[in-house]
């Protein structure tokens, strides 16, 4: 099998500079490698001092690590972005309609578009949410849609993050760092701003509050300083100007969820939680959890608080449900999906499983509930031993896996010791949903595989990030 050509976002398929990158090329031509190296070090120093780090589990020594930052921006033209954002909005609206339906009448199941067991036997389905409508009818207040590109005009959705998508703080800090280090770049290129995200987030969350008198109180719930994304939790609370709370700061008081302040308990209207469903309420879910708030689900069901994202949204970003997304979009919007799914084999089907087993060395296999790039097989990069081990896993629990063709992801140049070199990237745009409103921040987080030829962009697996520009029209 011959590999399709790899599309480079700067140089295209035929080494002709693509228009959005002309400003970047002028800049790179004018810089010396020595100065760029110095700037790279400066960027790292800035990140360390600001404490933009993530924690690595199970490593006491290197407790906090930096996500490597590459100084060459990734550029998206205004027109490309308009097309993408229409597709994203359509998809996010469909996801919210799907969630409402799944927890109410389940029309999509009745219509035979999704088999019942995909819902009823799904770990991410929360029976506690049946019949519950969240305030404002919004399920996914914050969504991250992971996109990859394979060609000049071909984008695919790799996955939908409808639980608690992370990474937005890197999007913001990457821009902040670039603005500090290369102000002249922004004077010459007209880049759409991203800095309004925290203010938009706060406005969007407040718009989803239950009925209140006066301005709603918003808070961010974090599992605590040892969580891998703690920096982001603190960052967002700080930028929004709201409290950053942990489970032990909260308690149900007089039918409201309230936080312990120096002046007593104060009720919260909207809780942006960065804690998984299972840990949210030890009375209703995992009784061992010390991260959540006993009784919060009862307050929630009574309409006393908004939880963002709503409990049970995980059913929409499950990788098996993902394969039904084209049907889901059509079913709820009555339109053709504007964004394409990656062709997906559900290993639950005997036929699909047989195909996957036969073609394992050419496929990417993922766990249905996995994330962070863990528990995943990249066929073309796997050793014979790894393939054999995965084959056994597939046979033992086929329903736990999906498989996709190995896409030839687009590349963008990064700055390496040996100069510029192309590396594979993906893109996670961030979407805010409030009643009747979908807001997409122009750009998003570009993750880049730093190793030559690697397709794994996850930060937990050695990936880095880039500033992502959407140019003004």
């Amino acid at each position: 099998m011959t590999n399709p050509p790899i599309f480079d976002e700067m140089w295209g398929n035929d080494s002709a500079l693509r228009a959005p990158y002309s400003g970047i090329k002028d800049w790179l031509d004018a810089e010396t490698p020595a100065r760029l190296r110095a700037k790279s070090r400066e960027a790292e120093e800035l990140f360390r001092l600001t404490g933009i780090t993530f924690n690595v589990y199970g490593r006491a020594e290197a407790e906090e690590r930096l996500i490597p930052f590459d100084i060459v921006p990734r550029v998206i033209a205004a027109r490309e972005w308009q097309r993408l954002s229409r597709g994203i909005e359509q998809r996010v609206r469909a996801i919210n309609a799907f969630l409402h339906d799944i927890y109410h009448r389940q029309e999509i199941v009745r219509a035979g578009r999704i088999p019942l067991e995909m819902i009823s036997r799904n770990e991410a389905f929360l029976p506690e949410m049946i019949g519950v409508t969240p305030p404002g009818g919004v399920y996914t207040h914050i969504v991250g849609i992971d996109l990859v590109r394979t060609d000049d005009d071909q984008f695919y959705v790799l996955e939908d993050n409808a639980r608690t998508p992370s990474g937005v703080s890197y999007m913001l800090e990457n821009r902040e760092t670039m603005l500090q280090m290369f102000p002249e770049l922004f004077a010459r290129n007209r880049v759409q701003p991203v800095q309004t995200y925290p203010a938009n987030l706060r406005r969007s969350l407040a718009a989803c509050a239950p009925q209140t008198n006066g301005a709603p109180t918003v808070a961010v719930l974090t599992p605590g300083i040892y969580n891998s994304a703690y920096f982001e939790h603190a960052f967002l609370a700080d930028e929004m100007g709201v409290e950053l709370v942990e489970g032990h700061d909260l308690r149900v008081v007089d039918g409201r969820v309230a936080m312990r302040t120096t002046e007593g308990y104060k009720p919260i209207d909207v809780l942006y939680r960065r804690v998984d469903d299972a840990f949210l309420d030890p009375l209703n879910f995992n009784p061992e959890s010390t991260l959540g708030v006993p009784g919060i689900m009862d307050v929630y069901r009574a309409g006393g608080i908004t939880i963002a994202n709503a409990p049970g949204t995980g059913i929409a970003d499950d990788k098996a449900i993902y394969s039904y997304m084209p049907e889901i979009v059509e079913f709820y919007t009555g339109e053709r999906p504007l964004l394409q799914n990656v062709p997906t084999w559900r290993c639950q089907d005997a036929e699909a499983l047989a195909y996957v087993l036969d073609n394992l060395s050419e496929l990417v296999v993922k766990e249905v509930h996995g994330s962070g790039g863990y528990g995943m097989l990249i066929g073309p990069a796997a050793s014979r031993k790894e393939l054999a081990a995965f084959r056994d896993k597939l046979k033992a629990r086929p329903g736990n896996y999906i498989a996709q063709p190995t896409l030839s992801l687009s590349t963008v140049p990064i700055f390496t010791r040996a100069g510029l070199a192309p590396r594979h990237v993906d893109l996670r745009p961030f979407v805010l949903v409030s009643p009747g409103n979908v807001h997409i921040t122009p750009g998003g987080l570009t993750r880049v595989a730093l190793k030559k030829g690697s397709l794994v962009v996850n930060s937990s697996q050695g990936g880095g990030t880039k500033d992502t520009w959407v140019l003004e029209d």
Binding site: R48, L49, T50, G51, I225, Y230, A234, A237, D238, E243, L244, V245, E246, H248, D249, M259, R260, T261, T262, E263, G264
Partner: protein
């Protein structure tokens, strides 16, 4: 503000103050060792006691040597009050309350920890010690300056000031407690000069040798030194000064929250208790007096935790 945040601010600044105090005590010990011929490692025992870390040291060490004492105070991970542990704890608390801090304060604190983690990762050679200790004081001054110059004067500031001054009062009281016998009339006839090294230790450990000379001249009497460290209202590390600051900050909190909690009454009581002249303190027993103050400071700290819901 969250009770947890008040707690984090309070402890962040207690630990910052502690790191600085410990560094100053090491400098004091080092100076005595270098300037007093024939001084064995004996002075290090009282330095360890002053820092409140002697017991922990004895648990992990067979004998007392200068090198080990310095290492214990400077960088031991087993000593929660070592400079390195205190800076790590300050930074950990700062991470927890990051939303309450300005970027300047966070970066100064984080930068201090980044420096300390690197500089104190290995045993510090004696020739590098002055530079390292100087850097600790310099970094403390940077955090203090960022705090003073960029933080709003609101309840956040009140809680961090409470941490600073409770820790500082505690430290000064402990220095007096360990060294009180030097100041007793029985050691030197009332009014006469005391042993140079002893007064030097005391004044150096509160960074007040110059200040003392300016105010009292160069005749070091026990009475004057005790007066300076306990009652002087101009000296930023005296018990009176620290307690007045604690009371002030509790007053501010009380008026901004519109409450009169028990800690405020306790601070007023403590201030009244300190309102006496030095002769009366000596008459009643210096040691007993210091013990009483230490006990009341501890009580006050616990009451603040309760009043402002640090834990529940």
């Amino acid at each position: 503000m969250l009770g947890k945040t008040a707690n984090g601010l309070f402890w962040m600044y207690r630990y910052l103050e502690r790191a600085e105090n410990t560094a100053r005590l090491i400098e004091t010990g080092q100076r005595i060792a270098l300037t007093r011929s024939g001084a064995g490692d004996g002075e290090w025992r009282s330095i360890l006691q002053t820092a409140g870390v002697a017991e922990g040291y004895d648990e992990g060490h067979g004998s007392l040597t200068k090198d080990q004492a310095i290492d214990w105070m400077l960088r031991s991970a087993d000593n929660p009050s070592s400079v390195l542990s205190a800076l790590a704890a300050a930074r950990q608390n700062a991470r927890m309350v990051r939303t309450a801090l300005t970027h300047d304060v966070w970066e100064a604190t984080n930068g201090t920890w980044m420096w300390a983690r690197e500089a104190l990762s290995r045993k510090v050679a004696e020739r590098d010690l002055p530079k390292v200790l100087h850097r600790v004081r310099e970094r403390s001054a940077l955090v203090r300056g960022a705090t003073d110059g960029t933080m709003l004067r609101n309840d956040i500031y009140d809680f961090l000031r409470l941490g600073t001054f409770l820790e500082r009062a505690d430290s000064t009281a402990r220095i007096l407690d360990v060294k009180y016998y030097v100041l007793l009339p029985s050691v030197a006839a009332v009014g006469s000069s005391i042993d140079n090294v002893q007064w030097e230790t005391i004044l150096l450990s509160v960074s007040a040798r110059g200040g003392f000379r300016m105010e009292y001249g160069s005749n070091f009497t026990p009475r004057d030194i005790a007066q300076f460290l306990i009652l002087d209202r101009r000296m930023p590390r005296s018990l009176c000064f620290c307690v007045r600051k604690i009371r002030d900050n509790l007053d501010y909190l009380g008026s901004s929250y519109g409450s009169q909690p028990a800690s405020l009454a306790k601070a007023h009581d403590l201030q009244a208790y300190l309102d006496r002249d030095i002769e009366a303190i000596f008459d009643g027993g210096l040691h007993e007096f210091i013990q009483k103050v230490l006990g009341r400071l501890g009580e006050l700290g616990r009451q603040i935790e309760i009043d402002y819901r640090f834990y529940e």
